[in-house]
Structures are given as structure tokens and as C-alpha cells.
Symmetry: C2
Subunit: 254 residues, 2 copies
DNA sequence: CTGGTGCGTTGCACCTACTGCAACGTCCAT
DNA sequence: ATGGACGTTGCAGTAGGTGCAACGCACCAG
């Protein structure tokens, strides 16, 4: 829409491929050297472009700083909430959003079931880390040594007969969850309650949050709940897309 | 230097603080809304800016992608080499550059000693990971569980009486290296050879490479070699600065 | 030492394309 | 209904971006 800015921004992906000198930049932009020089200078003043000792240009540190700062100020909750509400409107059950923090998994958002029988949970409360579906997803994404170290440190309380009994079983389950890309908790925390969960991923593919749908047996059976899996995954993917700023729309010029 | 581009780029740090709507952007730029709109649209087409569901703008995923791609295409060796040469010119000893890769530490560059007595080493060859100064620096930066897991997996060959004897001693040494920010190998690999090493860090502060100066006892004593530490650290810091694209120069406008 | 080539840089005249304005559409709250 | 807030569009004027040509400089070969 704005030619000058358009050209300037086209320099960035070009430099991402590797350092380039003024002539190369001008050629690939299809503009005169003097024009390219001015654009590069402007980019340089903003720190997006760095001039190395051999005079060639490359991307600068500011870019990294910006990306990082934006990351930190990104509030998953804010982004996810409308999606959670929509899912709740569709299926009626309790919807949770959870993140991993400091060896704990915490619920950070929740949309209450519209059925009279509700499950108990509280935003901000650590979840039962060894059995909750969301916890499995979040921990399954850790690098292997950390996963192992954490699994060893945990207690494995037997909430029910189906609770994860020990570190070995837990690690096996995490491996499976990691591969299939979703998780369940079928009566592992409270006999009568089942969950299905799916991961929310950031731009780099790492799991930044997990969301789940939970319902007691008296409302739907585990099998019925499992039929919601595609819907849950679709919702999680939608949140991932928005969180990582993937623009789902029209053509971006080469 | 270019007004339009200048304005467009000023939007980025502004959005890094958090999402903003058109009016806010226009105000803080001091331009008309229609102008801000056009700039935002251009940024949007390049994926640097994303429009969330509430119509507000925030930084887009492309920014991360660019930063990552630039990272990958950054060649430390290319950047470091002139610095290594300069250091070699100053002190005359062998200078090495090493990186950590797949449970190994590899020399990726080397400037030969200008003294007649040289130490043996080859670019591309894995270093003695349990004793080499550069290896200590690279491994000391790993997260604790990974460091531990790796230390357990390693063999601890007794090259000399001063070689690191076992995992416990190694981990203790890594902890110390981590805190002091430099490392040595005093006859741990070959009786008569000593090294001092310093880390090269990326924009995010993580250690991406390590460099060392090595010399045999017959040329300089260990104590004499240690007096070079400040020089080695200064060189490593210079490489870090250039690698991470920190522009050491003049004022960038607010 | 000299002439040549390749690079980044500068000043300038032309005219593109960026700007601000004002008007319109839409959505919400009153 | 009515007012306000906000994003969006078309348009006329001119700010400022563009390409050209010339310059300075470093490097290399004759």
C-alpha cells in the first residue's frame, strides 16, 4: 500500500538469507543504489539492520529484542478467552486453559459448564500434575532430560485406581501424548470425571498452553466426550494461529 | 533519513509494548489516522503486524520467523575470524574457536601459534570434552538437567593426573565456570599444555561458542598465560557484540 | 607511479506517491 | 432515535522519494 515502506520491508527477508552489500540489495529490490542506501540507512537507525565490519548489511539485534518483548507482552488468556467461550457454547461443558510454570501446571482461565452438575476447580490453582490431561500435554513438550528430572521429583498420589502410579508410567504416557498431539484424563483425578485436551502452540511450535473440556460421567460418558476431540483440537489450533500471529488471509506479495 | 519508512518503523516498538488501535497509533506517531492506517496496512502485508479479532494491532509472527532465520544463517566463524587473528597477532599463541553440537564440542576455527612449538589440534575434530576449557564453558551454559544428564553419559579418561576424574567433579567445575564466566585447562589434556578460554554469547545471552588461547609450558608458564585472560575476554566480548548485532554507535531517535 | 575498475556516497531536478482533510459507513451506548 | 467513537475511502496539493550523474576512495595491474 505504501511503496517506500513496502520496499524497505522487503529488505528484511532478503537480509535474513544472509549478509548482503548495497549493490545486491539494490538489484534485488529493483531500485537504484542511492534509493537502497537511504532505505538501509533508515532501517539501520532503527536498529533493524546492522552493518558489519566488512560493510555488508545484516539483520540487527533490535529485531530480536522486539520479537522477545512482543512475546512477553502477549497474553494468551486474552486471546484464548473468546475461543473458549465459543467452544463452551457449542458443547456446554467446562472448558479450561492451563500453562506450565515453575514445576507446576496452573489453570489460568475457565468457562463454567452450562449443565447443573459442575466439576470443582479454581483459576490459579495448581492442577493434579500427574493425571490432568492439560498437564500431560504441557510436560510432554519439555526436552527429554527436563521431563525425566521433573517426573522423578513428583509425587504420584493415587486419587483413583486409574491415577498414574509412578514416574515410569508417567514418562511412558507423556511419550504417547507427545506423539498423538492430544491427551485425556479418564477418571484419573476423580472417578466420575473425564477430560479431553489439546495443545496451544506458539510461533516456534512449542506448547505454550493447553486447553481441555471436562465433564462428569453423569452428563456424558467418556466415549461421548471423546467425540468432541476434533472440536477441541480445532479450537486449540485456532488459538495457536491467533497467538502466533499467523495471518490466515489474502496473498502477501513476494 | 526516509520519513515514511521512519514513521512505519516507529510503529514496531510502540506495538511491542502491547496491542493498540488505529487511533492510538496515529496519536503517538503524530500523524493523521489515514496515514497511520496505510502504514499499518503495509506492515500487515509483510506480516510484521497482525490484526487480532478485536481489530487492534500487535506484532506479527513474521518478526519471529525473520529473527530465527537470521540466527540460523549467521556464521560465527566468519564473524569471529578477524578477531581471532587480531588476538593471535597480539599474543602469538594458538587461538581456537569451538561450538557445542550433539553431545560433542568441536573446534571450528583455529589460528596457529607463531612460536615454533605448536600444539596439535585439527579443525572439525571433537575436543576432549571433559577437560578442554572451551568445552567447560559451552556445557556450563546448558540447563541444569541437561548438564547433569550429559555429565552422567560421558567417559572420564585420565589423560593426565589433572584430568577431571568423574561426573561429580565435572559438574562442580561447570558450576564454578558458569559463575566466573571463564575457564581454564591447566595440563588436564596434555601435561605440558595450558589454556584460557572465554565465552561468546548471542543476543539472548546464551553461550553460542567459546574461544581459547593455548600454549605449552615451554613457551609460557600457566601463570603467564593467565595474565592474558582479560585480553581473551575482551576479544570474546567483541565477537559477542558483533554476532548479536549490537550497534555500538550514535543515537537512535526515540 | 598511473590508469582502471568497483564500491559507497552526495547533490540535484523531476515528478511520483505520500499526506491530511473531509465525508461516509458502521457499530454501540444512551 | 441520536450522538459519539472508530475504521475506511477519494481526492487535491505538495512534501519528499526517486533516479541520474558525478565524486571520493580503495584496491589492483601494468
Amino acid at each position: 500500500m505504501s511503496q517506500t515502506v513496502d520496499r524497505a520491508l522487503s529488505i528484511l527477508p532478503l537480509l535474513a538469507e544472509g549478509p548482503a552489500d548495497l549493490g545486491q540489495v539494490a538489484d534485488r529490490l529493483g531500485v537504484h543504489k542511492s534509493t537502497a542506501l537511504r532505505l538501509l540507512r533508515t532501517l539501520h537507525e532503527h536498529g533493524l539492520v546492522y552493518r558489519q565490519s566488512d560493510q555488508r548489511y545484516r539483520l540487527g539485534a533490535r529485531l530480536f529484542a522486539l520479537a522477545q518483548e512482543a512475546m512477553e507482552n502477549l497474553d494468551i488468556r486474552e486471546i484464548a478467552h473468546p475461543h473458549l467461550v465459543r467452544l463452551n457454547e457449542q458443547c456446554g461443558h467446562t472448558v479450561h486453559l492451563a500453562v506450565h510454570e515453575e514445576n507446576e501446571v496452573l489453570y489460568i482461565d475457565k468457562v463454567e459448564s452450562r449443565y447443573p452438575v459442575r466439576m470443582y476447580s479454581r483459576i490459579g490453582k495448581p492442577v493434579a500434575i500427574t493425571v490432568a490431561a492439560v498437564a500431560k500435554l504441557l510436560l510432554a513438550d519439555l526436552p527429554e532430560p527436563e521431563r525425566r528430572a521433573l517426573a522423578d521429583k513428583l509425587d504420584y498420589p493415587l486419587y483413583t485406581a486409574r491415577s498414574t502410579p509412578n514416574a515410569a508410567a508417567f514418562l511412558r504416557e507423556l511419550e504417547q501424548v507427545r506423539e498423538q498431539g492430544w491427551a485425556t484424563d479418564l477418571g484419573g483425578h476423580e472417578e466420575s470425571i473425564n477430560c479431553v485436551a489439546a495443545p496451544v502452540r506458539g510461533a516456534d511450535g512449542r506448547v505454550v498452553a493447553a486447553m481441555s473440556v471436562s465433564a462428569p460421567n453423569v452428563v456424558v460418558t467418556a466415549d461421548e466426550l471423546l467425540t468432541l476431540l476434533p472440536q477441541v483440537r480445532r479450537t486449540a489450533d485456532a488459538i495457536s494461529g491467533e497467538y502466533s500471529g499467523r495471518t490466515p488471509v489474502k496473498g502477501t506479495p513476494a
